[in-house]
């Protein structure tokens, strides 16, 4: 009986800790968003972050997109061929990319690249007392460090998604039309007929939330790296925060994808 009670206690403690972290994280992201919308607005810092998160992710996003599009074209052709519907390949590729794969995969790439970097940067600043130094200089650390990242991420991720979609469709065209000899006009016409504004709205709404989550969660992990896990301090805590940021961002993107799809469909 004692053992059972002890186990329940341990479970309860974990749940309480999880809820505490959830609350703390929500407050963190909400505060950063609120500060983002209060003057003075540091446009230069947002542009710097936009360059880092957006511009520097173009290559990896494009690379992922072209191969995703090519696989979609390949797999889609053979699947549709079973139903003598190869002519619908263009539409299948476009819809898959615009509604699902574009937002999710580009967000996952940004989480892996920029999210880990944000966590590492803020974690290093935390352990070297740079965040405390900002506080002592009357500079709000969240407004100075986190708000520009969130603002830039909300702008960059949808734009990267758009790039992903276009490049992905080119990849699909490469395999479908060039390699598998689907009629070009049929392919392109199918693409245009299958997609409408609703698909684009859904496809571009999701990245807004994904961008917020990537920057918010990664920044949270780095900012509080020194207290994230008991017994983990110094450089190890930065390493833990970086890994944790990528994992949690990726999981949240996938969960949020389902929730948003259910709401928006």
């Amino acid at each position: 009986m004692q053992i059972i009670l002890f186990q329940i206690g341990v479970l309860g403690e974990s749940v309480i800790e999880m809820l505490h972290s959830l609350g703390k994280c929500t407050l963190f992201i909400s505060t950063a968003c609120a500060l983002m919308m209060t003057p003075p607005f540091k446009i230069r810092r947002i542009i710097d972050q936009l360059y880092f998160i957006g511009v520097k992710s173009i290559f990896v996003v494009s690379l992922t997109a072209v191969f995703t599009g090519m696989v979609l074209g390949l797999q889609g052709y053979y699947t549709l061929a079973k139903f003598n519907s190869e002519g619908l390949l263009g539409g299948a590729v476009a819809l898959s990319l615009i509604r699902e794969l574009g937002p999710v995969l580009s967000a996952l790439m940004v989480a892996g690249r920029a999210g880990s970097s944000m966590a590492a940067e803020l974690g290093s600043m935390r352990i070297s007392e740079q965040i405390d130094a900002l506080d002592t200089m009357n500079i709000h650390p969240l407004k100075f460090l986190v708000s520009p990242k969130i603002a830039a991420s909300i702008i960059a991720v949808p734009l990267l998604t758009a790039i992903f979609n276009v490049v992905g469709m080119m990849g699909g065209y490469l395999t479908g039309v060039v390699m598998l000899e689907v009629n070009q006009a049929v392919f392109l016409n199918s693409m245009i007929q299958a997609t409408d504004m609703q698909d684009i709205v859904v496809g571009m709404t999701k990245p807004l939330f994904f961008g917020l989550m990537i920057a918010g969660l990664s920044s949270y992990k780095g900012y509080y790296c020194d207290i994230l896990k008991k017994g983990v301090y110094g450089s190890e805590s930065v390493s833990y925060a970086t890994t944790s940021a990528v994992v949690i961002s990726s999981v949240v993107i996938l969960v949020l994808d389902y929730v948003l799809t259910a709401i928006l469909l």
């Binding site: 070297s128 007392e129 130094a133 506080d135 002592t136 200089m137 009357n138």
Partner: protein
């Protein structure tokens, strides 16, 4: 009695089961430098972090100008933070910004000054700390000592009312250590800020502090002026002072004030017992403040060191040379009458005519002088009284030029 600027009332703080502050009562007076000493890990830095608001106590009050800082509204808290600057032990420079941007950041974020005005303030502080030439470098490209000076400049650029120094001289060589202490003291006198310093540099901090506080196991064991710290009747205080204080001044290599005071007492007792004589020579470097302000504190310390080497070279056989204070060198001459002491002084004055120039080059031309006096010790005199008497009899023995 004037109200203290900062006051801790029954402040307690614990981290898990480790009690770091145990009902601490502490008063920090306006316009003074208070140094907190004690063994490592005893909570000295925790006191500083409580003052700046990076930590909150578990119980007790912390008052600033009579107001409890734990109960300030956000606007008052912002105003309070403008008045207090903090120099971290590891400096905490922003490694993604160069030195200039690090120092300019508080001005850019907190004031409405334009870039020209910011540049003027930043360059002024950089010149005083001799770091202008590294303004484009990044923190990873500069030495530990330079990082300290950049950190100091970043704090001073906002002209705060209170400056908290967390071991400001850790990692610095003796010249720069003394330069930092000298600079803190000089800036404090010039700008009138209140300084609270955590340090292990005994006895150097005694030269510049008006109050010494010793913290041990969360409790204050001593809270008094530097000259009374040795009278504190607590074994831990005595043990700490004895253990931490070295016999030789790190900058000049001469004996410390503590050692020469002990020797003075011995010689005084001997002279009374044996009916013999004892004299002192006192030297002062005039114009040091101007050198510090114009050429920097490092040059000022080099001037002191250079002259101290000269005195040691000429008087090491005749007497015991010591660094009595920041700018005073005292030579104790046992078994020496006033007449003989004056002859010795005369010989030294003669030797000063061939005083070698300060090593190094490229100094802005600047004049300074050395004053001296000779006093014979009579009766039961206190060394402080003898020094005060000697200071009244100063006469200039040489004029020199830095070039």
């Amino acid at each position: 009695m004037t109200e203290p600027l900062i006051e801790f009332r029954d402040v307690s703080k614990a981290f898990a089961s480790n009690i770091v502050l145990n009902r601490v009562n502490l008063k920090i007076n306006r316009g003074e430098i208070t140094t907190i000493i004690g063994k490592s890990g005893m909570g000295k830095t925790v006191i500083l972090k409580h003052i700046i608001g990076l930590m909150e106590p578990d119980s007790g009050q912390i008052l600033f100008n009579g107001k409890n800082i734990l109960r300030l509204n956000p606007k008052e808290r912002t105003q309070f933070r403008f008045h207090v600057g903090y120099l971290f032990q590891n400096v905490a420079l922003f490694d993604s910004m160069n030195v200039y941007d690090n120092i300019a950041l508080p001005l850019r974020e907190n004031t409405k000054l334009n870039e020209m005005q910011i540049r003027e303030k930043v360059i002024d502080k950089m010149e005083k700390l001799e770091i202008v030439e590294i303004r484009q470098k990044y923190p990873s490209e500069i030495s530990g000592g330079m990082k300290k000076r950049v950190g100091l400049a970043r704090v001073l650029v906002m002209d705060p009312q209170v400056i908290l120094f967390d071991e400001p001289t850790t990692g610095l060589d003796p010249i720069r250590k003394n330069a930092v202490h000298s600079m803190i003291s000089h800036m404090q006198k010039k700008f009138g800020f209140t300084g609270v310093m955590v340090s292990h540099e005994i006895p150097d901090v005694f030269y510049i502090s008006q109050k010494i506080v010793m913290l041990d196991n969360g409790v204050i064991l001593a809270d008094c002026p530097p000259n009374e710290i040795e009278n504190v009747d607590h074994p831990k205080v005595k043990e700490f002072i004895k253990g931490a204080e070295s016999l030789k001044d790190q900058l000049t290599g001469l004996k410390t004030k503590k050692l020469i005071t002990s020797q003075f007492i011995i010689e005084l007792m001997r002279s009374v017992h044996d009916d013999s004589y004892c004299s002192i020579l006192l030297f002062k470097i005039n114009g040091l403040n101007k050198i510090n302000e114009t050429l920097g504190f490092v040059t000022g310390q080099k001037v002191i060191k250079h002259f101290a080497s000269f005195v040691e070279h000429y008087l090491r056989i005749s007497g015991e040379n010591s660094r009595y204070s920041d700018d005073l060198i005292l030579t104790l001459l046992p078994n020496t009458k006033l007449g003989m002491a004056k002859i010795l002084m005369g010989k030294l004055e003669e030797a000063l005519k061939t005083y070698p120039p300060l090593p190094g080059e490229g100094y802005t031309p600047m004049n300074y002088s050395i004053s001296s006096s000779v006093v014979e010790i009579q009766g039961q005199q206190d060394i402080e009284n003898v020094v005060t008497l000697a200071e009244k009899k100063f006469s200039v023995i040489g004029y020199f030029e830095l070039k």
